[in-house]
């Protein structure tokens, strides 16, 4: 199965990269852009056939390494 893990900064955590992107977008003439936040996406394949088992494994990976709960949230999407 495939797991797509989206990691985003928690609300209230300063995101200078998002701010720089926002400034660049405004510089290009995109008015009305605000609250730009940059995250990351990790894709991986798992040799699991059961969706619940794959999700549990991805959860554990997020907790142990992929995300830092001090500053980040994560969302997991499992597909065949």
């Amino acid at each position: 199965m495939k797991a797509k893990i989206t990691i985003t900064l928690k609300d209230g955590v300063l995101d200078p990269q998002g701010k720089a992107i926002e400034r660049a977008l405004k510089g290009l003439g995109f008015d009305g852009v605000f609250d730009v936040r940059q995250g990351k996406e990790i894709e991986l394949k798992l040799d699991e056939t059961d969706e619940a088992a794959a999700r549990a494994k991805a959860e554990e990976m997020c907790r142990k390494l992929l995300a830092n709960p001090v500053m980040e949230n994560y969302a997991i999407e499992i597909t065949a």
């Binding site: 955590v13 300063l14 200078p16 390494l65 830092n68 001090v70 500053m71």
Partner: protein, 220 residues
């Protein structure tokens, strides 16, 4: 004092800190590869600066899971002093030995210059070479030095005297100008500036020498 310096792939201040420790203790520290699983006999552990694992994923994230870190965490929890400088501070946060995290610098710049710090706590073994309220100059060189923690954690750190050093002129956006913090028990210090780069008049001063001499004196 029998220090051990952990060397990670892409550590780059391991030699500098070894020189500083040797200057203070009279003998070279043990250099321990991150892939080892047990530390040699040691009473002082250092996680040096650098860019372990290329700062991939998050600064310090991968190094915090290195095989040697299991023993480092165990010894830290049992009371062995641990010093983390720069990337070492990031690793200590990622390993859960210190609260909070180091985010990207607020202005996005890599900051590389000497900064002035205020010693906020001179009671710890790490700061015994200084007086409370004293100003010291250490160089910084980092991209991810913006200390972040929730307000409750910050209040607790300040209330318990666990802020060891504060920036006089905050170079990276750190919450409450924090440059270095202690753990609850006072045996773990993480700081972004580099005392090991201030150990000779040729390098700009001797505030780092005072730091390491204080350490060696407190450990003896």
């Amino acid at each position: 004092m029998k220090p051990a310096v952990i060397v990670f792939p892409a550590s780059n201040c391991d030699r500098d800190i070894a020189v500083a420790l040797e200057q203070a203790t009279g003998k070279p520290p043990a250099m321990v590869w991150h892939g080892d699983t047990t530390l040699p006999e040691t009473d002082f552990i250092v996680l040096p600066g650098g860019f372990s694992y290329g700062d991939y994923l998050r600064s310090g994230a991968m190094a915090a899971k290195s095989p040697i870190m299991r023993d480092v965490i165990e010894k830290a929890k049992a009371g062995t002093p641990v010093l983390g400088v720069c990337n070492g501070f990031q690793i200590l946060c990622e390993a859960g030995l210190l609260p909070g995290a180091l985010l990207r610098n607020a202005e996005l710049n890599f900051v590389c210059r000497t900064v002035t710090l205020k010693v906020e706590n001179s009671q710890s073994m790490f700061t015994s070479g200084f007086e409370k309220g004293q100003y010291v100059d250490f160089p910084v060189a980092h991209h991810d030095g913006n200390y972040f923690a929730d307000d409750e954690t910050l209040n607790r750190l300040e209330g318990d005297g666990r802020v060891a050093f504060r920036y006089l002129d905050n170079p990276n956006g750190s919450a409450r100008d924090i440059a270095g913090i202690l753990n609850d028990a006072g045996n773990v210090l993480g700081l972004m500036p580099h005392p090991e780069r201030m150990i000779s008049p040729l390098l700009g001063g001797l505030d780092g020498t005072a730091f390491f001499k204080g350490l060696a004196g407190a450990a003896a």
